[in-house]
Point group: C2
Chain length 192, copies 2
DNA sequence: AATAAAACAGACAGGTCTGTATAAATGTCA
DNA sequence: TGACATTTATACAGACCTGTCTGTTTTATT
């Protein structure tokens, strides 16, 4: 029965994502979740460990959501590459994770706050990004593209650019622009 | 003679950029700069104001550097669009702002820590991004592209994607990939 | 050299932070 | 019901934070 621990991580993720890691105190997480402080420190050795648990939850949740969104959009392998950007747009508009809204990418945010490359949270963020690239590579392979690795990296780069643009400048339509660019790039890759 | 104030803002920018805004205490900035606390509060009403001053300095410095880098690279208007990504690569490799190294984009970082869109630091970040887009639009116009506004937005999106990728995943070669993508997209735009 | 402005050092207040200690309350399961 | 583990409430330590206050020293101007 880890329901107490889970509830804690859930609340932590929400507050960390919406207000930042350093700016969110433990007391706030405890108050919001209704969990006692000693319970937190029974499950986690430190706040840092809680942060890591929250990011791991986010990684799992986000990738599950993204893959489902893409795969239920269409069966056509090439159309799935574009469906990525449709998914992004619903995310940017706050329709994906209703209780969280959209505050950029939790992992870009983590890498910002924990700038040191060797920090566990930064490393975990890099791993998350890599996992997404790996998934995109699979999609590119399914679409029969000649350079699935390269195209996956291209799509990932467009995705990161769209996220940053949507967040910093509050331009959710960056997803549509990225989609258009992806279309052009895929067409160019196909004709080689 | 604002040399004392300038030195303070300079030190603040360095520490904020390398270690984050919330994680950097005022005492550290004072110790590193050798400025007394009362001097800080004579020039700024609060830490937030110091943060804004540091970001304004960064905006000015970064854009000056970027424009110089592009304009001294070549006189060919179209080649300048690609020179953007060469500049990014030297930045990612830590050769641009020697004393700062590379810790991502200060404005993406600021938007991460101050997630609220109405926060002055977030707004200033959005303005910085917009100014860069405006500059790129000028370059696109000089290159005689048919849709300078749209292409500037595309290049900016590639730039943001490259920055995020270079920082989070520690992939400075993202600049080169973005350059390649830009080339393809420009070619596609020219042939319409 | 005299006067005014600026920067200095350092203590301090009041608050917040993480993490620990203690003891009461709650729930679980035999 | 009784034994046991988990969670709770609350107080606390020690560190750090921002911002203020006081008084001294340095710097600039005339």
């Amino acid at each position: 029965m880890t329901t107490r621990r889970d509830h804690l991580v859930e609340t932590a993720l929400k507050l960390f994502y919406m207000n930042g890691f350093n700016a969110t105190g433990i007391d706030r997480i405890l108050a919001e979740s209704g969990v006692a402080k000693m319970t937190l420190y029974k499950h986690f050795r430190s706040k840092d460990e809680l942060i890591l648990a929250a990011l791991e939850l986010r990684d799992q949740r986000f990738r599950t959501w993204l893959e489902a969104e893409i795969e239920q959009a269409t069966d056509d392998p090439e159309a799935r590459l574009l469906a990525l950007f449709d998914a992004l747009e619903t995310w940017f508009r706050g329709e994906a994770f209703k209780e969280l809204g959209f505050s950029g990418c939790a992992f870009i945010n983590a890498a910002s706050e924990f700038a040191d490359q060797s920090h566990p949270a930064h490393q975990l963020s890099a791993e998350h990004k890599q996992r997404v690239v790996d998934y995109l590579e699979r999609l590119c392979r399914d679409a029969g593209l000649s350079d699935p690795v390269g195209m996956a990296e291209q799509l990932a780069l467009l995705k990161e650019g769209a996220i940053a643009t949507a967040h910093v400048r509050n331009h959710p339509d960056a997803a549509r622009r990225a989609r258009q660019m992806a279309q052009t790039l895929i067409a160019a890759a196909r004709s080689t």
